[in-house]
Symmetry: C2
Subunit: 179 residues, 2 copies
DNA sequence: TTAATACGTGTAATTAATTACATGTTTTAA
DNA sequence: TTAAAACATGTAATTAATTACACGTATTAA
């Protein structure tokens, strides 16, 4: 893909908060940050090595049990600096790859039978997503205390909820128009 | 990336409408469809060859001028069938890669000075996008006649506009909260 | 006690996407 | 008439991302 290697900055951001193993970092993408970025361990481990070579991070090895070696990565001064620089740099958004939008583009006829089916199926898809996101918000931000502590995260989740709400509204609008 | 090869279906969709050269198809991504999908010629030409090997498309060569050979691709029965099947299949949406959202996630403090700068810069970014999209809509759909002819495309553009509007609203909300 | 699950780290193979390299023709406007 | 821009088609190199392969340890619950 020849992309922009934003994963690097995510790892720096996560390590800035606390030292972690590759395994820990991988798990981050199964919850919280996984809502808006994906990465798996076979992407993370090699990247950690490269980042260490760049002196952005470092690690200390510790023993769990009697044999298992754990590599605990932590951020360096250089790493912190690189991260801060990234925060201040201009942000880009990649083209949104939405397969439904793509299909819709090719539907010329408002009375197409297929269109109705496509809309209803998308409606349930996004309804589910909305429910999921609202639950996430309730779980992570039950009170204003949590919001104050992780303000950015709360904004990001709120944005996702509003986006899904907008998507659903738009779908409902179309449905009303064509039925 | 090991992706889902949706480009294949886009090319089929474009060729379903009319026979085109690789060059023509490439140009499609500079306007219309380029608003929500990207592809360049070095991705398209090899894919066309593979699609021809799969008998999804075929081509006839014509001469322009005295020497220039033009390959005009057209869709086959198999191709049409494959495209229709895709339209009926479930749609997925890839994780939205928004660098600003990513950065925001790492901002814990509502009073962060950086946050204010980040918001204002994003505001202008999305304001510009919104203006651009609205202009696109006016150009492509000056009256209901065009909407009836390319209903899906109009919905897609309208969706993009509403999404940008929502993004801007959300940013303005945040700005009000933190200032 | 033993089997399943979670923890932990890595490599290999494949495919997708971008940028750069490479070449030539046709048309149009100065 | 000539130079620039548009037309037209390809390959090569690089990097990113996914899936699969691969190995071993520690903990927990039946």
């Amino acid at each position: 893909m020849a992309q922009k290697n934003r994963l690097k900055y995510i790892l720096l951001g996560l390590l800035k908060d606390k030292s972690q193993t590759g395994y820990d970092l991988t798990k981050s993408f199964e919850s919280d940050i996984g809502e808006f970025w994906t990465a798996n361990h076979s992407q993370i481990y090699p990247l950690l090595k490269r980042m260490e070579a760049e002196r952005l991070i470092d690690h200390k090895t510790s023993l769990v049990g009697e044999k298992l070696q754990k590599k605990e990565y932590f951020i360096t001064e250089t790493g912190s600096h690189t991260f801060e620089k990234w925060l201040k740099s201009p942000s880009e958004i990649d083209t949104i790859h939405d397969e439904f939008i793509l299909k819709l583009y090719f539907i010329d006829d408002p009375q197409s039978v297929l269109l109705k089916q496509m809309i209803t199926s998308q409606q349930s898809y996004h309804r589910d997503k909305l429910v999921h996101l609202k639950m996430q918000f309730k779980e992570k931000f039950p009170s204003s205390k949590q919001i104050k502590q992780h303000f950015g995260h709360s904004l990001v989740l709120r944005h996702a909820i509003e986006r899904e709400q907008g998507y659903s509204d738009w779908l409902n609008e179309i449905y009303k128009t064509i039925k």
